[in-house]
Amino acid sequence: MSEMDLSFKAAAASETGGELLDAAPARPKIWRNILHHPGLMLGLTILGILVVLAVFAPWISPYNPYDQHLPQRLLPPVWVHGGNAANWLGTDHLGRDYLSRLIYGARVSLLIGFGAASIGCLIGVTLGMCAGFFGGIIDRVVSFILTCQLALPGLLLAMALVFLIGPSVGVVILVIGFLHWSYYLVVTRAATQKIRDLEYITAARAIGSSRLQIMVTEILPNLFSEIIVIFSLEVGVAVLAEAALSFLGVGIQPPTSSWGLMIAEGKVSVFLRPWLVILPGIFIFLLVLAANLVGDGLRDLMSNESRR
């Protein structure tokens, strides 16, 4: 029926699907090799720094990100003529310290990235495992749901839903999460199908384990490596989606500091003060890049393990 859509998704997700599946049964000892993978190390470092900034934001940021100093509006960063060392990266249109707002923006982005990726993971993995394990009519129904989900214009629907329900961090997480689970589904479905017929599953069945038990205790642990790769990539997708929503004014609302919103606020004077747009963009870029590097890197390590 909808094998074509599945194979397309798998092709689009090209390397992940194929190579990871081969690695599925053996749990790879990857931690040793992480240090020797430059891309993965770079990704983990950037991600680590951003997580530290987000968690310890109240202690790290030089000012309160919501404090307005109207006489000191739109100060340039320290390296531009007219900048001063008190506000390293200058101030925004309300005189709020830009560096502090960027640091607090990491909180919103990471929260939404991890939150939405977790919700997507829960939906996608559950559906994927059921489709792969039971097969038959359940598989067909899940495939049909997947085909429908892929056909929906994600960004447009997310914008409409978030704005109409009422924009808040929670709603953004829920909506983005509920619209991004197809990747988990495709990969876990294929991996479950491969594992389902292995001998140890038959053995587990023979000693009287229930289906649910088998799925949770025997199959799920073997999907862990695939899931963590997709999770990492989906964090990047969710961060980009939130940034786009907030930029368009239908996501995070002021005065909360979100990088996408900061770009929207700085857009007005983009020619006079390009840094207002460029700085938050660099932060978004770094976070998404880090998430993608970690995902790609873990995938590399796992497929290398399996070739040995």
Binding site: F8, A151, L152, M159, L164, A244, I263, F285, V288, L289
Partner: protein
Amino acid sequence: MLRYASKRVVLAILVALAVSFAAFLLLSVATDPASAIAGEGAEPEVIEHIREQLGLNRPLLVQYGSWLLHVFHGDFGTSYYWHQPVGTLILHHLPVTLTLALSAIFVTLIVAIPLGTIAALYPNSLIDRLSLGIAVSAQAMPSFWLALVLIILFGVMIPIFPISGDAHAWNYVLPAIVLGAHSVPAVMRLTRVGVMDVMASDYIRTARAKGFYGYRLLSRQVMRNALLPVVSVLSVQLGYKLGGSVVTETVFAMNGLGRFALQSIVGGDIPTVQMLVVLFAMTFIGLTLLADLLNAWLDPRIRLA
């Protein structure tokens, strides 16, 4: 072929029905159009009256049925916000988005296919690594940010392209680059994998043994087979472009469907938003169906599977 095609068409129709119902349901539940039209602080009686007038107090399934019936008769409803038929509004905004999406696909192709092919012919070379780097960076860049950086660059430093509007062909250059860049990584990777697979196949070895080499080998034997998967993904990418047009058109102030969709959302114009979501989904379903049928026609193994 006929059997396969009819199966695919039936599935596409089922998906179209399910998707339109989902879009209708989600957007109807998310908000109350009656109080949106009545405005803030309206009397409950006024809201109730509007609800009655628009038939919003009927069961959702009935509302969906009557909406579907109207759509089949070519009546796409009337916009709450613009006070015009939704169909007319969509037709008015369609040309800009269509032109933009096609130019974006063109940008994707002229960048991604050469890069992917060269990367595949010289694996692990400098250019392979460089193109991989470009792909990874392009995926991490928010499209609206890329748009603004291009605006800064071309608006101030090298003012050769216009940075807003949709009146001339030149207006489409920067938006097409932004929208096209988004698909470059996917198409490039697919081309790279495709070319590598084909180069390693037996029939290419045979062709080489027969004396084919260089450009002739590439154009006659390799590309034709390597680009098959790219063709089918392109149709799907074109569907994504429609959704991506929201951001691009807004930044570059182009009067297309994407910007129109955003304005309708912010205006709380449910019938228009519903119709746009359904229209984008239908385009996607249609293109995927076309790609499937094209693939099956080109490759008989798919039909029999």
